[in-house]
């Protein structure tokens, strides 16, 4: 399959490095503003839930983290596939940069979910499919990070990690559909939620704002981390020495 020119250009490390440097603040600043707006909306403006009272407000930090935990994995898996198929080093850099961010938000989704579970379900942890598959996601991220650290040869690490990331993709539909499978066993909670009046606008907008904010902060963090990866990998490249002010060396 032939790739379009813009894709090749994007895959060129110096080009991507310049673009990432330029774009980072355009993601970072709106992300922080939206985080503040969403938090204010979620904690102050949204009305209390008729069943969960003010406890439902945990949704504004739990759902965006849970969404990011799988979305980041998707980015990592797609980047890994591109890196394997087209031998694009930048794609491996993206996957490597995404892993620690994904691991942190998976951890956050698990812990905020556990704290939410205590007052609502009466327990911090239940070995139900959704919780268990999310915990497995955390282990896959941590496995990916330690596998990367186990290689001295960066190319070998890239390939091995990409294979691991692609194998781990099977966990994503399990996380997604676990609630449906779970409800067929334990019908109560899900049906109750479906029967409840749909979430009102003043409850919904802070959640959407938070999800957008998390997406933007992920983009900003990813760009910073990819820049670091690219600098490490291209340490001897002419363009890196140039932007660092090394003297020109003939050719």
């Amino acid at each position: 399959m032939k790739l379009p020119t813009w894709f090749h250009k994007l895959g060129s490390p110096p080009h991507f490095y310049r673009l990432a440097t330029l774009l980072t603040p355009w993601f970072y600043v709106p992300a922080v503003l939206l985080l503040l707006a969403g938090t204010y909306g979620g904690l102050v403006l949204a009305p209390a839930d008729y069943q969960q009272g003010d406890g439902f407000r945990i949704i504004y930090v739990h759902v965006p983290s849970a969404y990011l935990s799988t979305m980041v994995y998707g980015v990592m898996a797609v980047a890994s596939a591109i890196g394997l198929i087209w031998r694009m080093k930048l794609a491996h850099s993206v996957a490597a940069a995404a892993a620690p961010i994904g691991a942190w938000f998976t951890f956050l989704a698990l812990v905020t979910g556990a704290i939410w579970g205590k007052p609502m379900w009466g327990t911090y942890w239940e070995w139900d499919p959704r919780l268990t598959s999310e915990l497995i996601l955390l282990f896959i991220y941590l496995g990916y990070i330690s596998l990367r650290g186990a290689f001295d040869d960066r190319d070998k690490a890239d390939r091995a990690c990409a294979v691991l990331a692609l194998v781990g993709v099977v966990n994503l539909p399990i996380i997604h559909y676990s609630v449906i499978w779970w409800s067929s066993i334990h019908q109560g909670p899900t049906i109750k939620k479906l029967d409840a009046p749909s979430i009102t606008g003043d409850m919904l907008w802070p959640l959407l704002v938070m999800i957008l904010a998390y997406t933007l902060i992920f983009a900003a963090l990813l760009l910073q981390r990819v820049r670091a990866e690219v600098l490490d990998r291209e340490r001897n490249a002419r363009w890196v020495l140039d932007i660092m002010g090394a003297p020109a060396q003939g050719n």
Partner: protein
């Protein structure tokens, strides 16, 4: 204000999740920045070495 802080009896759960979220966000922001700074410093040292060798 104290009503707001009480969170209808869910204070410990709401504030602990929001607090932890803030901590994890800051860790990520500081971590990414520090990672980039380290790489920039490394690259800068290399370039400086080359500059010395060239002069």
């Amino acid at each position: 204000m104290s009503d707001f802080l009480a969170m209808g009896g869910y204070a410990e759960y709401v504030w602990s999740t929001f607090g932890l979220t803030a901590v994890v966000l800051v860790i990520n922001m500081v971590g990414a920045r520090r990672r980039l700074r380290n790489s920039l410093r490394e690259a800068g040292l290399r370039a400086a070495r080359q500059r010395r060798q060239a002069s």
